[in-house]
């Protein structure tokens, strides 16, 4: 009971140690040598990969703290994804943060805290650990969103994010407390058994609890109609933070949702199935239609991330409809998450690199990028078209497994959702293509923006390179991505 397996919590310990070292070292470093902090953060994240890989190779499962904290394949796979995403975000941040030269230490400290939270989250197997981990993930992000203190837009982004964040926490917690009241259990396993043995699958209170929890998660993953904070917050935050928000924080919301829905509430499909069906359909449609009107790249990516959240919700609904569709649905969502994480970070890396050169995020100002900077232009095309889901770029496989998970049930509900998703995939292509069009088809402006990068560009290029390779390789050999899905799908009881 009380034995703690240090290997099992080693990844978290390493990240926690890294963030403490960052905190301490930051105090003693002179201002011009603050970049050491970034290096430490990168090293810490890289080191944390080691125990994750060791455990993945050994294949053992660990259960601690009375089953509240479990390291299984699902947890390991997602810890790996969070670490890689965190690593990429750190690389993306370096040049941006370095050039502003203030609060560097705090920036990396907060980012690592959030990363720590999301890693704990993957292992959470009861409501309290889940709640604490989720708050640890989002709490630092409220501050990071307002990181540019002097900028009113950053303030506003931060406040909006904060109020929505705590409101959603309140709703989710109330749902959890009702769930606890109904079952008398906090652990997912206990809740699942209490529901099935007590025959509570159709209790109205259970329905209320499920809906409240879903609304809470809906805010976290920014699904329609709980998405309205996302475009404002994304636009106002520093772009590297936005990249983190749109990937890791969304991923965290989905991981929590996967755990709660598939581990604690598999019996309550009657409640969450239709709710998520609706949320998925509305998210895709509303977000895509809004994205069509955007002229600001980051707002466009914000709406795109809302639409992508809709696509990720589709397998949930599909799994709820089909018999034995749960593990298929879980696998599909995880594969989508993994691919989305890489391609979206790639897209943000390009947008940040281009934005620093061009000095604007208006799509019209990016015209002719391909003619004066073919490297960025090609990257832009690859990542945006991958987000659109075009073969042979990785995005196609994400869409493919999504369709597959929903078509497993041949009932009309599944088919209709598939049709809605198909139409939305086409609509989405239009706005991604608009960015590509601007970069490649339009004439470059008379004054070509000079490359005036002062900070280090290596890390940003490295991040783009890694994402590019992953997007191309996974696109051609999607079997690599199914590994994640299969490992994660073992979670379904």
């Amino acid at each position: 009971m009380t034995r703690i397996d240090w290997l099992a919590i080693a990844p978290e310990v390493v990240v926690a140690a890294a963030l403490l070292v960052v905190l301490a070292v930051d105090l003693f470093l002179p201002r011009e040598r603050k970049y050491w902090v970034a290096a430490l953060a990168v090293v810490g994240t890289t080191l944390a990969m080691v125990p994750v890989i060791l455990m993945a190779v050994s294949g053992d499962n660990y259960s601690m703290f009375g089953g509240s904290y479990v390291v299984d394949d699902f947890a390991l796979v997602l810890k790996g994804v969070f670490l890689v995403a965190g690593y990429l975000v750190l690389l993306i941040s370096v040049s941006y943060i370095e050039s502003d030269r203030y609060y560097q230490g705090e920036y990396y400290l907060l980012l690592l805290s959030s990363l720590l939270g999301s890693m704990v989250l993957t292992s959470a197997r009861d409501l309290v650990v889940l709640f604490v981990a989720l708050e640890l993930t989002t709490g630092p992000l409220f501050l990071l969103a307002g990181w540019r203190k002097g900028d009113l837009r950053s303030n506003e982004a931060s406040l909006k994010f904060f109020i929505i964040g705590v409101l959603s926490t309140g709703l989710m917690l109330y749902g959890m407390s009702l769930l606890f009241g109904l079952t008398g259990e906090l652990s997912f396993e206990g809740i699942r058994e209490a529901i099935s043995t007590g025959g509570m699958a159709s209790e109205p209170v259970l329905g209320l609890a499920v809906l409240l929890i879903l609304v809470g998660f809906g805010f976290k993953v920014s699904a329609v109609p709980f998405h309205f904070w996302a475009p404002d917050t994304y636009q106002g935050s520093p772009p590297p933070v936005t990249a983190y928000l749109s990937v890791s924080s969304k991923l965290a919301g989905f991981v929590a949702m996967l755990a709660v829905i598939y581990l604690a509430l598999p019996a309550a499909t009657d409640f969450w199935g239709p709710a998520l069906w609706l949320m998925a359909a509305v998210s895709m449609t509303v977000a895509n239609l809004s994205a069509l009107r955007q002229s600001h790249l980051i707002r466009l990516l914000a709406y795109s991330s809302v639409a992508q959240a809709g696509f990720m919700l589709v397998p949930f609904a599909g799994g709820a409809i089909a018999e034995n569709g749960l593990s298929e649905g879980l696998g599909a969502t995880v594969i989508y998450l993994v691919i989305y994480a890489v391609m979206n970070l790639g897209a943000f890396a390009v947008v940040i690199a281009g934005g620093r050169r061009i000095g604007s995020y208006e799509i019209a100002d990016w015209r002719g990028l391909g003619s004066y900077s073919p490297r960025l232009g090609v990257m832009l095309a690859v990542f945006f078209l991958s987000l659109a889901g075009l073969p042979p770029l990785a995005g196609w496989f994400a869409k493919f497994v999504m369709f597959r998970a929903v078509l497993i049930s041949t009932g009309p509900a599944g088919v209709w959702l598939a049709v809605i998703a198909a139409v939305n995939a086409v609509v989405a292509f239009y706005y991604y293509a608009r960015v590509v069009k601007s970069a490649w088809f339009d004439q470059a402006p008379d004054e070509i923006p000079e490359d005036t990068e002062t900070g280090p560009t290596g890390p940003l290029s490295l991040a783009m390179g890694i994402a590019l390779v992953v997007v191309l390789v996974v696109g051609v050999f999607p079997g690599l991505a199914t590994f994640f899905g299969d490992a994660a799908a073992a979670l379904v009881p």
Binding site: L385, P391, A422, V426, K437, G485
Partner: protein, 527 residues
């Protein structure tokens, strides 16, 4: 020579892609090196295709040869399964040939903003997509290749396309033709293929209902055709129909085609007309009809109606055009209508007609687009009212134009004749179970279409070739056909005559395969 058996097709598919990657490493300034390299790659690909054709066992054309079947995405049961039979062989060779000719033609003809390296790289990626589609025997693999052709074509149209401003109905501002055409091409095809993918997935899941492992394998799915029936099959056919019909394109999904053709650079139009359009009709023959034969019979009258409307509509639209290139584009709608009419009869004659029609259309319309491009290159206009007397200014080019137009209108003895003639013949006696009177009506209307085709082609010839040159060209020197053009066009001319005189060149390969296909699919009905 087992090595050849197992590697030839993969090489034909992926050699261009490897070539494109290598070309990426050649510095942009060394244009000649890039051109020579891509020419080498495409010629080697063509040679391989010819070798495959030479070693192809025509006695067993109904079965798949040069097959490779290895696991690819094992988690979803998708395999890297490729192979060719008599149906795909002519199209594969055509595709490899046209790419070579396009490389030769583009040696001296670059549309703004030039950049030969980027253009040739796109062309090589396109070649991989086209060749791959013709050999894929797995639905997922087919889908990937089918989609792979979109991106290069999108960039070709968008970057090197026509820059004249155009007023688009429904838009306030004028936009450049290329921008509108590129996105329209993409959205239309993507819309179709999204539904096609849903259809593929539905087939996959249903194929497991007999207690076997679900599969994406095309021959395997054909063998399990009995599992797909009723509303399910009807919906799946509908989904696939959307995907394929947009690509063909059939009326009323054709509206992207005239825009895309007109806006695309010459080589883009040629590839689009000669190969890309065939992907759709080929998919009908390869996938939709053999897997869902009974449903195909339900859909056949509808397809025939749309095909006939396409024939008549395409011809009439041609008569309203003032732009040579746009006229040729609309003529494609009509010709593909004949191909689809042939397919709709579901008979051996009809489907053979469709394949030879596809090959002939690839040769003839490809050549016509080359000519339109060269004419535009010389006169800097494609307005027929300003052209005229071409035969006097450039006798050789005028002669070739006359010859190709004759081939296009279906003159006996040239390639275009067989597709139209056999399609009409097929509709005289459609598959038993289909309404004979209905298809005979279609035949009559189709025959009227051939007359209209002759009409607009001759009208075009009269406008462009005959008469006196307009005064605005007086005193200007025009270079007649140059050697690159000649090198690119001569093989097409030779083949148009060869296929016209000796149709067994194509039918020899296809007949057995088509007979096999029709018999397997409709044995219960026909026998």
């Amino acid at each position: 020579m087992d090595l050849l058996e197992s590697w030839a097709l993969s090489l034909i598919v992926f050699l261009p892609l490897v070539g494109a990657l290598v070309a990426l490493a050649i510095p942009k300034e060394r244009e000649e090196a890039v051109k020579q390299w891509t020419l080498l790659v495409s010629v080697v690909t063509l040679i391989l295709a010819v070798v495959v054709a030479a070693r192809f066992d025509f006695g067993a054309a109904a079965g798949f040869q040069f097959e490779v079947d290895v696991p690819w995405i094992s988690a979803i049961g998708a395999n890297y399964h490729i192979g060719i039979d008599g149906i795909s062989l002519p199209l594969l060779v055509l595709s490899a040939l046209v790419v070579v000719l396009c490389v030769i033609y583009s040696w001296q003809h670059w549309d703004e903003p030039r950049n030969p390296r980027a253009f040739l790289i796109l062309m090589m990626i396109l070649a991989t997509g086209m060749n791959g589609t013709f050999v894929a025997l797995d639905l997922v693999l087919f889908f990937i290749f089918f989609e792979l052709v979109l991106l290069p074509m999108y960039f070709m149209i968008g970057i090197w396309g026509d820059r004249t401003m155009r007023k688009i109905p429904g838009f306030r501002k004028e936009v450049e033709t290329r921008l509108y055409a590129a996105i329209k091409f993409f959205i239309f095809t993507l819309f179709g293929s999204a539904f096609m993918l849903l259809g593929f997935l539905a087939l996959y899941f249903k194929s497991g209902s007999g207690g076997q492992q679900s599969t994406f394998d095309i021959p395997e799915l054909i063998a399990r055709g009995h599992l797909f029936e009723g509303t399910f099959a009807w919906l799946v056919f509908g989904a696939m129909f959307l995907g394929f019909a947009v690509k063909v394109p059939m009326w009323p999904f054709h509206t992207w085609l005239p825009d895309a053709h007109t806006a695309a650079p010459t080589v883009g139009s040629v590839l689009l007309a000669a190969i890309l359009l065939k992907l759709g009709s080929y998919a009908f023959i390869r996938i939709a009809i053999p897997i869902l034969p009974d449903t195909a019979r339900d859909w056949a009258p509808a397809i025939a109606v749309l095909a006939v409307i396409g024939i008549i509509y395409g011809s009439l639209a041609c008569l309203a055009q003032t732009d040579v290139k746009r006229l040729i584009a609309f003529s494609s709608v009509g010709h593909m209508g004949f191909v689809m009419l042939g397919i709709a009869t579901l008979t051996e004659v009809g489907i053979n007609a469709a394949i030879i029609g596809m090959v002939a259309h690839g040769l003839i319309t490809g050549l016509l687009f080359f000519l339109a491009g060269s004419i535009h290159h010389r006169y800097h206009t494609r307005e027929m009212s300003r052209l005229g007397g071409n035969l006097k200014l450039m006798p050789v080019m005028g002669g070739i134009l006359g010859f190709t137009a004759m081939a296009s209108l279906g003159l006996p003895g040239l390639a275009g004749f067989w597709g139209e003639f056999m399609a009409l013949l097929g509709s005289y006696q459609p598959l038993p179970g289909l309404s004979t009177s209905f298809f005979r009506t279609a035949m009559v209307i189709g025959a009227i279409g051939t007359v209209l085709t002759a009409g607009y082609m001759l009208w075009m010839l009269q406008k462009v070739n005959l008469g006196e040159p307009s005064s605005e060209w007086a005193g200007k020197e025009f270079q007649d056909v140059d050697r690159y053009e000649m090198a690119a066009w001569a093989p097409l001319i030779v083949l148009i005559v060869a296929v016209g005189v000796y149709p067994r060149l194509v039918l020899g390969a296809t007949t057995d395969a088509v007979v096999g296909l029709v018999e397997t699919a409709f044995r219960a009905v026909g026998g």
